[in-house]
């Protein structure tokens, strides 16, 4: 069971790394000489391999190992980055992804990939040899700039007579310790029996493993006064910075061989028989106990260092299960409701102390709310970068030249929104590539640049995030859509729609853009699916298009799905919340004002006639209109209209509760919230209400004609 958990962790991690790998590869396409990028790719491959091996994904590890080897060549300048290499690596990334998802990948397929890599390698190597001189020079230039910490092994064997010159060895170790973290092992095997011991001689020697960024000279300087009388060997083990990534540390036997304590052949001989190397070596009297101890200490030192490095990495961010965050958000939601009750009661109590405490609680709750919400926020760029790959592959397949430009990748959105947005965005971009952007020839014939542009942008506006996908392709053919809509009865006879309204018809179910706009076989998924996806997120989608100039699809999404600022209003005893982001102004409307309008739902706003929706009429609420009521002027999605209510109660921190599956088709309500007294208030959707108003007035216009 436990291994399953780890395997799951590995999978999630591997997928994240693969995403990063893909992003890095696509960047590398633009900057083929960027060393840090190549390092990033190498690291990604290395980690997939390393942890794959650790968790028993041997297939993945072996396959990745081959690619890693290739990139090792790239890193050392033996192999040049080419278009083919990147394409091949991207495809391999897909294969690894499939393997991570436990899909069957035949060994033949893997082998084929590897041989293609090797093909590139062989073809390239000759080429690079000629230019090697240049790249080497470049590398040398880079090297001295690095100031990395390294692990050093110091073997210090003082001369027997060292004490006679008055040297004190203890301060040396203190000095070494100042250079960095060190592990010291003392060898005592040369100390003779008491009878033969000369108290004025030094029989000891030491092995020191030291991590420092000060370089070899600094270490040598420590021993400067004793070096004439002693054997001092200083060797560099490895980059301390890379320790974190290298999962497999040197084995005990390897360390011993490297230090010259035992010959390679002897070691191999022993290894062939016995598994426990340390014990065996001592038994066979090939090395003594203290050499083993020293080697073990070294191993320990490096291991400790790598653990420490991991700790540093993980302290930057904490992985939290999404459902824990959801619980936290829910709890904050409950707290907000309780706080509303507290504020309500304290205001009625007229007790200054209670009021001031309630205000304090309110301030803290708001802060807590904002902070909690921000925990769930992610930059949308994580999704955007995935589309680069989509555009690259699909445009190649269709023989089109398309670049994807991005803007506002740092815009933050709720994690769950981003996830659910993925599919709709893929559909839209596919449509743009497939049906929007024309072939290079067609573009040139029209006097356009032969490379098409798809612009993906995100901006925050108020409590909404606006995402737009614009292409400079063929655009929608309004006439064709109109004809099709007539045929399907979507436009009633005699009904005239503006071009803009016609475009929105592509969102109607069963209205595939493939049928309407071009004759290319319908890869494009119906836009109604896209619309439904966006609306499930309480978002709105609109399309605008100009023939031969392009199409722009705009998606508006709420920042969070959990808590918003709202305006609490009342009509005939029913409570409603209007999202604050949509509210512009409130006006008073008396019965006389209503009479003066002669049955038209319009109100005079600063000399301008503004239509409004009477909630009492719209929602069929019983009761008379009071002597004086309020009209709240709202703006949503570029439309302006008023909402007439009996009374405005005030600002309200609104915790959004879904109204459930049964009411999901009710468009003008986006959710519900629980008030301080435990009753439920509905949250109005201004965008839908104002749109309704517009189509109502449109119908009126047609009727009067």
């Amino acid at each position: 069971m436990e291994t399953d958990i780890y395997k799951d962790i590995y999978k999630t991690e591997a997928i994240e790394i693969l995403d990063d790998l893909e992003a890095a590869l696509l960047e590398l396409e633009d900057l083929p000489d960027d060393m840090p990028l190549i390092d990033r790719i190498f690291r990604a491959l290395h980690t997939i391999k390393g942890s794959g091996k650790m968790f028993g994904f041997d297939d993945i590890a072996d396959f990745t190992h081959e690619i890693e080897n290739i990139y090792d060549g790239v890193r050392s300048g033996k192999l040049k980055v080419s278009q083919d290499l990147i394409s091949l690596t991207l495809t391999s990334g897909d294969i690894i992804r499939r393997m991570v998802h436990a899909e069957e990948v035949s060994p033949a397929e893997r082998q084929a990939m590897i041989s293609r890599f090797q093909g590139i390698q062989q073809g390239e190597e000759k080429l690079v040899d000629e230019t090697a001189g240049i790249s080497k020079a470049r590398e040398e230039k880079i090297l001295p700039e690095k100031k990395q910490s390294a692990i050093w092994r110091v073997r210090f064997k003082p001369g027997r007579n060292i004490f006679q010159t008055g040297s004190n060895l203890a301060p040396l170790f203190a000095e070494l310790r100042e250079l960095g973290e060190s592990t010291v092992v003392c060898h005592i095997q040369d100390v003779p029996g008491l009878a033969g011991l000369d108290p004025e001689c030094c029989y000891l020697s030491w092995d020191i493993v030291l991590t420092t960024d000060r370089g070899e000279q600094a270490i040598r300087d420590v021993f400067i006064f004793v070096e004439d009388d002693s054997d001092i060997a200083i060797t560099e083990l490895e980059d301390a910075d890379s320790v974190g990534q290298i999962e497999q540390h040197q084995r005990l036997g390897e360390i011993l061989v490297e230090k010259g304590d035992i010959a390679q052949e002897k070691l191999a001989e022993i290894l062939a028989h016995k598994p426990l190397i340390g014990q065996t070596l001592v038994q066979e009297k090939l090395v003594d106990q203290s050499s083993i101890k020293s080697a073990l200490a070294e191993q320990q030192h490096i291991r400790k260092l790598s653990e420490k490095q991991k700790e540093i990495e993980s302290s930057d961010s904490v992985r939290v299960a999404a459902n824990k965050l959801d619980t936290l958000v829910n709890l904050v939601g409950e707290l907000v409701i309780v706080q509303a009750r507290l504020s309500q009661h304290s205001a009625m109590s007229h007790e200054p102390m209670a009021v001031s405490i309630a205000e304090e609680v309110e301030r803290l709750t708001t802060e807590l709310r904002d902070n909690t919400m921000s925990l769930r926020m992610l930059p949308i760029g994580t999704t955007f970068s995935k589309f680069k790959r989509l555009v690259r592959d699909l445009s190649k397949e269709l023989g089109k030249e398309i670049v994807l430009e991005m803007e506002g990748e740092e815009t933050q959105l709720d994690k769950s929104v981003i996830e659910q947005l993925n599919d709709p965005l893929i559909h839209i971009i596919r449509n743009s590539i497939d049906h929007g952007i024309e072939s290079p020839q067609a573009r040139l014939a029209q006097g356009k640049d032969k490379t098409g542009v798809i612009m993906l942008s995100a901006t925050q506006s108020g409590a909404d995030v606006v995402i737009s996908i614009a292409d400079d392709g063929a655009g929608l053919d309004a006439a064709k859509i109109r004809a099709k809509a007539r045929e399907r009865g979507l436009i009633a006879a005699g009904e005239e729609l503006s071009e803009e309204e016609v475009c929105q018809l592509v969102f109607e179910p069963g209205f595939s853009t493939a049928e309407v706009v071009s004759d290319v076989s319908g890869r494009g998924v119906g836009m109604d699916v896209v619309k439904r996806g966006v609306e499930a997120l309480r978002g709105h989608i609109e399309i605008s298009s100009r023939r031969n100039e392009g199409t722009k699809i705009t998606i508006r999404l709420p920042l969070t799905l959990a808590i918003i600022d709202g305006l609490l209003v009342e009509t005939g005893g029913e409570m409603y919340v209007i999202p604050q982001a949509a509210v512009i102004e409130c006006f008073e409307q008396t019965r006389e004002d209503i009479e003066n309008a002669h049955g038209n739902n319009v109100i005079n706003v600063w000399g301008q006639m503004m239509p409004y929706i009477c909630l009492r009429q719209r929602f069929d609420i019983a009761g008379d209109i009071p002597q004086s009521r309020r009209v709240i002027l709202c703006e949503a999605n570029g439309r302006k209209a008023g909402l007439a209510v009996d009374r405005v109660i005030g600002n309200y921190q609104t915790v959004i509760k879904p109204v459930g599956e049964i009411y999901k088709n009710i468009e003008c309500i986006s959710g519900a919230t629980i008030l301080g007294d435990g009753t439920v208030a509905l949250i109005l959707d201004p965008v839908k209400l104002l749109k309704e108003e517009q189509s109502v007035s449109l119908r009126d216009k047609i009727r009067t004609r």
Binding site: I337, I662, C668
Partner: protein
């Protein structure tokens, strides 16, 4: 689901709507609440009375009187909201059901349940799984899976009562 699928003795909650007794398996009953103000939902079928707050969750409430073509439930001191749970493929549906009064939990064996009669009841037999006996009264076992299907709850249809002479 038919009456044949009931193979074991189970406990059932009985309640009254108008003068008729109804019952549902206790397994589908989450809790019974006193009547509380229901927030009206616009643009919904009239038998869907609206939503209530049950400890922080929003739950829809159905008025079976309206669904069965009777007068709207007028809250009395005995009026209750029975919160029921119906397992669905994706998510469990939780719905409140208005009852004029709630009686008791009884045990009914499978052989005590008869298939709904073809004729002679006021209720459309589509929503009745079977008929049992309770204190010499007939008791209608509701087919809540069908009655509370999304299609039933979202479409505004009227004729639920069997028309006479049919």
């Amino acid at each position: 689901m038919t009456v044949d699928t009931i193979t074991q003795t189970d406990q059932y909650l009985t309640f009254k709507i108008d003068e008729e007794y109804f019952t549902v398996n206790v397994r589908n009953v989450r809790e019974i609440l006193e009547y509380t103000k229901i927030t009206k939902m616009p643009d919904a079928p009239h038998f869907m009375r609206g939503i209530i707050n049950v400890r922080g969750s929003v739950i829809p409430v159905i008025d079976l009187r309206l669904k069965f073509g009777m007068q709207e439930t007028v809250p009395k001191s005995s009026t209750r909201i029975i919160v029921m749970e119906i397992a669905r493929e994706v998510k469990t549906l939780v719905i409140g059901c208005l009852a004029d009064s709630v009686k008791e939990v009884i045990e009914i064996a499978p052989d005590q349940i008869e298939p709904p009669p073809e004729m002679g009841t006021r209720w459309k037999k589509d929503y009745i799984l079977g008929v049992g006996k309770y204190q010499e009264e007939f008791i209608m076992l509701l087919d809540i899976k069908k009655l509370f299907s999304t299609a039933e709850l979202t479409t505004i249809d009227q004729p639920v009562l069997e028309e006479e002479g049919q």
